[in-house]
């Protein structure tokens, strides 16, 4: 039934497209049925009335049976508790209904996925689970669309669709996280030379702050054995020290900063980088402060060794490009409030002005977004290389290159 389109066709491509959309098996069968009835009536042929009855029965069953199969079906939809962009997730649909059900197809237009999740069951009884794997493409807070149940039982001539209203519970997808590599060593206020990040020391300028869960990489010296024995899990002592490196990260949430399309925009990349940098910083024992302005102020402090970053990632997930202040402006404003910050992370487009030089003890990580590569994602660009200008480390970020190991 495909109508060949060609330059010599008397129909325009649009006409052919709409014709192809309009012509389907169901409509063709109706035309044949009506033709059959007309000839049967005109010639008074009983056998042709028989053929007419057959095609009418075919249409009737195709109309009624799908509706009957979808009656009263309840579907419970389950997502993993934590979802991040870039991850493949399993969505479980639990269908329940009375009696046998045939040819049930479930379609879920998951707003953050690369395509609808779907599953098909030729036959099931009382209740059944379908698992569908989808890839999360977009971070954010999403309200789920109603689930669609379809059935074209038994002939596939006509498909009936039933929308199942969902309770409207929002689903959050956290930003994509990259393994960026170790953060560059910041300059200490009392140090002029580069050096390793000092670990917390018992006799240093530190004060016991709290205990927290052991994470991989923690020194065994910091394990609080008594508390671990009491809680039946490993916990470590956390100290507050004055000279501990601190990360200040400012996100640019202006619409002007958002270049590109879909999930490959400078803004989305910046959010992913911010999330990844914060995670890396907590791993490395830095406390972090995230500042952003997206219509309202966001300022979140993340303690060092914070194992559960859900809260800050959730805040990042909900950020919109509706702010007015650039990353530079936010940093200039915040640097006075956080004088102890010795690692400052900012984002800017390639042509945006640089932040004026920081004091020597402050290391500035400047993510320079190659907006042209976001506008033209298929254009070949050179692999970005880090540039160092004094205490400023400039990391070019382009659409076509992976962020994994960017800081290496």
């Amino acid at each position: 039934m495909k109508i060949q389109s060609g330059s010599s066709s008397i129909f325009s491509p649009q006409t052919l497209d709409s014709l192809q959309r309009w012509i389907n098996l169901h409509r063709v069968l109706w035309v044949l049925t009506l033709a059959c009835f007309f000839v049967a009536w005109n010639r008074g042929l009983a056998l042709l009335y028989g053929v007419f009855s057959l095609s009418l029965a075919l249409l009737l069953i195709s109309q009624v049976m799908p509706r009957w199969q979808l009656r009263g079906i309840q579907v419970e939809r389950r997502f993993p508790p934590i979802m991040s962009a870039g991850e493949e997730i399993e969505v479980v649909y639990r269908l329940s209904g009375s009696g046998h059900r045939y040819h049930t197809r479930i379609i879920d237009d998951i707003p953050f996925a690369d395509g609808p999740a779907s599953g098909f069951l030729p036959v099931w009884e009382t209740s059944h689970e379908i698992t569908s794997r989808v890839c999360c493409e977009h971070r954010g807070l999403f309200t789920l669309d109603p689930l669609r149940l379809t059935s074209a039982y038994p002939f596939g001539i006509l498909s009936h669709e039933r929308c199942l209203s969902s309770p409207g519970e929002p689903v959050r997808v956290l930003p994509r996280l990259y393994e960026l590599g170790e953060l560059p060593t910041p300059q200490h206020a009392n140090q002029n030379s580069e050096g390793d990040l000092p670990i917390a020391q018992r006799d240093g300028q530190e004060q016991f702050l709290s205990i927290r869960e052991y994470v991989h990489g923690d020194s065994l010296r910091h394990i609080h054995w008594r508390a671990s024995a009491r809680l039946q899990r490993l916990v470590v002592k956390e100290y507050e020290r004055d000279d501990r490196p601190m990360l200040l990260l400012a996100l640019d949430c202006r619409a002007a900063f958002n270049k590109g399309e879909g999930n490959r925009t400078t803004f989305e990349f910046a959010i992913s980088l911010a999330a990844s940098v914060i995670r890396q910083a907590t791993r490395e024992g830095m406390s972090s402060v995230l500042i952003a302005e997206h219509g309202k102020r966001l300022e979140t402090a993340i303690p060092a060794y914070q194992s559960d970053l859900y809260e800050v990632l959730a805040q990042l997930a909900e950020l919109q490009d509706s702010g007015n202040l650039s990353s530079r402006e936010l940093i200039e404003e915040a640097i006075h409030r956080y004088p102890q910050a010795n690692l400052v992370v900012g984002f800017r487009l390639r042509d945006d002005p640089l932040i004026p030089a920081f004091p020597p003890h402050v290391t500035h990580i400047d993510f320079e977004m190659d907006d042209e590569s976001f506008h033209f994602p298929l254009r070949h660009t050179k692999a970005p290389r880090m540039n160092r200008f004094g205490n400023r480390l400039s990391y070019p970020v382009s659409s076509g290159h992976s962020m994994e190991g960017l800081l290496q």
């Binding site: 098996l25 005109n42 009983a46 042709l48």
Partner: protein, 744 residues
Amino acid sequence: MKPGSNPVVVWYSLVSSVAASALLYAHLGLLAAGIGLLVTLPVCLWVLLRVRHTDEASSPFRKYSEQTAVVGLALFLPLILVTNLLTALLIFLGFGFVSLLLQTHDDRRLYLGLGVGFTALMAGAVVAKSGYYLVFLIAYAVSVSITLGHIHLEPLRNPAHPWRQRDQLRSAVWLVASAVLIYLILPRFPAGNLGSRPGSDHFYQSQAWEQEARQTRATGDPEERIQSMLDTLSEHLPESREPSSRSDSDANQTGYGYGGFGETFDVQNPDTQGDRFNNTIVARMRADRPLYLRARIFDVFDGISWHSSATTLSKLELDRGEISLMQTPPGLDPFIETYEVILEQDLVNNIMAAAVPVKLRFPGTVIGIDAFHQLQAPGLLRKDTAYVVEFLRLQLKERSFAERSYYEVPGYRQLPGDLDTRIPELARQITQGLDSPFDRALALEGYLRSHYAYDFESVFLSQHQTPLSRFLFETKRGHCEYFASALAIMLRTLDIPSRLVTGFSATDLNPLTGYYEIHALDGHAWVEAYIEGMGWLELEPTAYYDVPSQERQTLSAEQINRYVERQLRLDETLDSNHLSPDAIIGSLWQILYLSTVWVAAHLKLMFLYAWPWLAGLSVIALIAGLSWPWLAPRWRARRIRDEVYRRIRDADCPEVNEYFAGIDRLLRNAGMEISKGTTIESYLQRIPDLGFSLDPGELVSTFNTQNYGTTDSDQGVENYRRLFDAVYALGYGELSNRTRSQRV
């Protein structure tokens, strides 16, 4: 999507083969259908299995597909010239299907192929005249339902959950059952006959007749020529001739041998060849109602034989196979009806036509017409000849009239010379007290139908005896010619002009094919009586035959019923051998029919007579269905309460448990969700949240004491009873609201 799975390939091949064999059956018969099935099935399978392993772009079958399409196209035009449009189209369709089959690379082409198959099935149904075609229809329905299901499931295929065979069968049964139901209850509308022209395998022409027609054309139109012939007839009564079953022109012809179609015939033995005593179908008629097809009209009776005065034929030339025989009287257009006759056996040269033919479409150049409007072909009518007649249907006082006009011919009032005097006396007795000729005619007809029996044996027993007297006063049984002759003569004794008509009683509608089947046994004689001011009234004195119904039979169930009744009566009349294989198969077929009739008749009764009840029940069911969600939980709550009280009254189990179970059931009925493993403590803790004042600790204590302790506490039981009553008294609606708010 390629037809990747074997089920799709197998079932698609099967459905295509069934459609092809159905078409072959309709055109060429059962043998061709069988061969077609055996050939097309493996070919389709082979091609599809090969095609599915190729890519569309590089398919080696592509060129063959294109060549097949070109050959089909090249054959199409010559075939139109050699055969007819329908045949050419069908052959073209066949080539198109093969071409398509060779390029079946996606499901759209599979669907297109199914569409071609369906068209072939339709084309077969147009041509088929046998009820066995329904077997092909059912086979097609079964195979197409499973094929469509497999094509639909192909892209969604889930090896873990295959489409089970019993589910395939279920969908097929659904389709067949629905189709049969629709077929049974579907009203049959009168045929439109828009632009229809019969296809006939024979063509009739006679140079002598054509020349004669050209010579007499100047004498006026057909009606004027008939008038001229009637003028000749009115001058004198023709002399009696020796009984003969055939006219002179038919002497060297062979065909259906009912003597009543000749110019003269003997009422004692009108079937000299015995051709009439079997159930062979001699013709089929497609019409909206049963009809009496007239072949000859006889006016002169000598006591033994009937003779027709109208021996002269006026020849009429057809204009491209069509001729108007009379002008339609103004205002009578709605009564013009059309029927088509297709001959299944060689017949005599009479063109059977229901009174009064207005227009004829006949495969020939010339026809003859006699003074009584009866039509004749230039030669013997051969098998597979088809013609269409438009006729004027006249109806007055719920009776059919053959013609309105009357022209006095001496034969219409002629009586045999040695007429038994008891016959006029009997006629007078029957019509005593009746004044109008119409009522008298009906009274005589009714008397013969109710007092005399139909019997073929009379043909052989009545040799060499005066037939009418013996029939009327002694045996009181005989064949239709006796009935018709007796009625015609009795009418004449009452001074009512009458004539005997022979022809076919086409009243046996095969509900499966929609054609009226005209059997050899349907060769028949009946009477027309002229009623002053009304016309020629058709009278059927033989009770064995139905008076042609004026009502259209629009329901298949009714048609099936009549057909089976008729078949049973035919079998009974012919007294066939009940032990022969044919008879056994016939009986099985009859049983199948009868069971269909049983269902169909009840369905019909249901639709016709019980529709107010059905409508009422449907409304009640609808109301019940709509209010069920409201009613059901309330009804369940009441049942729970009654059950709890009954169990407490009858059983000796702890009352606390019964009350607790009752409370639990009432709460669950109201939508309270209670997860598995909930302890009685946490369960009872939730109840105060629903607004019931109680001490959960006390209730738990009572429960434990009653079940695990040794002492009883009447107060504790009373607390449970009060709680149960309070939960029930709250009512389902309020309880449901509270459980819902608790959930939120």
